[in-house]
Assembly symmetry: C2
Amino acid sequence: MIRTIALLLAATSTAAFAQEAPPLLPPVPPAIVALQHAALADELGYKLAEDITTELGPRLDGTPAEARARDWAVARLRALGFANVHVEPFTIDGWTRGPESADVVAPYPQHLVIAALGNSASTGSRGITGQVVGFGSEQALEAAPDSAVRGKIVFVSHAMTRTQDGSGYGFFGGPRRQGPSVASRKGALAIVIRSIGTDHHRNPHSGVQTFAPGTRPIPAGALTIPDAEQLQRILSHAAQNGGQPVTMHLTLVSQSAQAPSGNVIAEIPGRDPSLPPVLVGGHLDSWDQGTGAIDDAAGVAITTAAASLVRSMGQPLRTIRIVWFGSEELGLFGGLDYQKRHGNQPHYALGESDFGSGRVWKVNSKLGKPREAEGRLLQAALAPLGIVPGSLEDAEGSDVGPMIAAGQPGVGLSQDGTYYFDYHHTPDDTFDKIDKADLQQNVAAWATVLAVLAGPIGSEPKRPAQR
Amino acid sequence: MIRTIALLLAATSTAAFAQEAPPLLPPVPPAIVALQHAALADELGYKLAEDITTELGPRLDGTPAEARARDWAVARLRALGFANVHVEPFTIDGWTRGPESADVVAPYPQHLVIAALGNSASTGSRGITGQVVGFGSEQALEAAPDSAVRGKIVFVSHAMTRTQDGSGYGFFGGPRRQGPSVASRKGALAIVIRSIGTDHHRNPHSGVQTFAPGTRPIPAGALTIPDAEQLQRILSHAAQNGGQPVTMHLTLVSQSAQAPSGNVIAEIPGRDPSLPPVLVGGHLDSWDQGTGAIDDAAGVAITTAAASLVRSMGQPLRTIRIVWFGSEELGLFGGLDYQKRHGNQPHYALGESDFGSGRVWKVNSKLGKPREAEGRLLQAALAPLGIVPGSLEDAEGSDVGPMIAAGQPGVGLSQDGTYYFDYHHTPDDTFDKIDKADLQQNVAAWATVLAVLAGPIGSEPKRPAQR
């Protein structure tokens, strides 16, 4: 009896962790192990992230700041010794922010901190005043009768919390992505949302939204999370103190116009130029409130430093193409332009780093059934960095996502995003949020991926890396 | 030999903790123990902090918002059943903030986040432009020749880090308190400092500074800590890239004028009105960027809830006087007005809560030699709350500080300030930063102090507390 219970307990206590033995992974070539070790100590990635955020600052899509960033990028990529450095220009539907403020007029007058969402309509400089009606979720707004919303300023909250994989962003991002269109359809005067984020600081999270076809653009802004909670308390106190209406004066000035943008491209030519290239990158543009450190100076810095390390070991078999995409934030313009130009050409693999600088904890790949052994080699080579083998039939990426979805091979390195949405799209996305050791683990991971995918590396570099 | 080593190790390992046996403390009356238990579960303090921050919002000294707060306070203190509720008005040297911004013009154009310091001169709405010269500390600025500073925008940094007792604020606050006067004396155009704080968010820490007699007021502002670090990097990169000068456009609009303020006073009359009162309180005014939750809605809420609890147990021997001081932030105006009116009247003790809502960890008192037994009873009564017995010859407090310094008896409860300077004087000083259990430990501590000092409590309350 006692023995039975003990067995039962043992079975129970391990049940949560029960799984099959891990897959047998292939041996990793010593040159790749050596490269990974060198990458963990290499400081180019951290330095690039510092330089981009310091010397360029914010780089909103289509602005002169983004144009200056492209010029800077071309010069820097050439100085780093990459080949074929050039810009592929395109035009975007631009949007820029003007003065913005939100003030509770009655019954408890006070200032709230707000930022317009991308593609918000402008209130004009004199602003608008309306009664606030609150909803706990985007679903609650959807379910409300039009009469509860018409002519009012809609406030929508959500319950997003921190997750390692950032999966809350999809579901709880509804107030930002769908909220403005739903509110407009129901006749709202404007919409203010609880910032899509997980912090408790007075920094609003902006981000793009696109009005659904046929809906009239209305002013749309994001309150900081403390301000959203304050507005909830104000609505609740006003209701308890005799049901007084809460009125808000809202100013969200903005402008929309066509604007120039572009992708910056650089290459490490492979020994066999006829082979499809391996593409890695991130996006150079950023939201306008911060300096775009984790979104996405980190990504371009990580992948560029990884490529630079591979180059310093010798010439790879396949060309490595680095893309610093432009205008990701306002609508994946850079990724879509690249796809339009190059989407029909085969790529050996596509990969992008665009989720901050947290450590990589999982590798996914989608190289196709005949190349699963290559996927397993990636898993084996990344495991020493603490990276869990993930799917062999799936990969992700923002700018490269549409091409992977269209059938091109891809590799995705999942980063720890526990704190990513504390800073994402806020004034707080600044260089001090990047941890050097975490970023260097990312560089080591991407250098490993490139070394595996770009094929055996020639014995000698063509020319020394200039840093 | 082994035994000798063991003894030696034992001696070494306890050396760091070696101290005298703790003092024998007197027994605590059961009524006080019961009050303390009740206070730990009482929610009035937390509710008051919520109501002040929600229904009043920011309450800068001398503004209409502070006047509205006084009216609200009178009504609320009466509703809570306190007696003799009234305002003692006074006039202050007011100062209010207007539009403000800081932009690096060259060589790396970008926007920085700034807030004017109290009593800053105004740049006027068109702002000023100047070359930035950086100093690592207020001491380094002091040591610089006037020629290095004259006509320039001075930037001063510091190395403040988190401490439990907040002691870094005194020493590292030099750039804010002395910096503007020193910079002015040396002929600077303006001064921008690294915010006096310990966070890494883009929320500037304001705070008062006063130009020394004979110095010309100049514009003076605080950059957020990430922005100050960014400016340091910009200065460093510019120096490395050919020694380019860094220029900044600075707009700090502000106004100074005489303005009305006042202290709000309420009492629990003692059974013997001829005895000197026990005074507790906090300050009702707050800086303008946040809602003054930890500075100092928490303090007035904690001490008022504590007094309310004492009252609900019956009438105390001595009168308890609650003061919600006005205009502490711009220069202790409320405390000094109270001292002018009442400083010559004896008080049984003075105490103030004005360091956030972190747990009390130490009790100090300065009741005078003949009343040391009372100080020991305070220590004994507070120990169950995890509070360390501190000095019997020292007490602190902002508004009550000058009166304690002038010889009146005082009690000081030291709060855990580890994170206080993450939020202090920033837009981030909002209700969500208050931890309910921590605040209620404060209420229990102050209720205990009042029960000990106000003397034996009568068996029945005069009238039920209305909450």
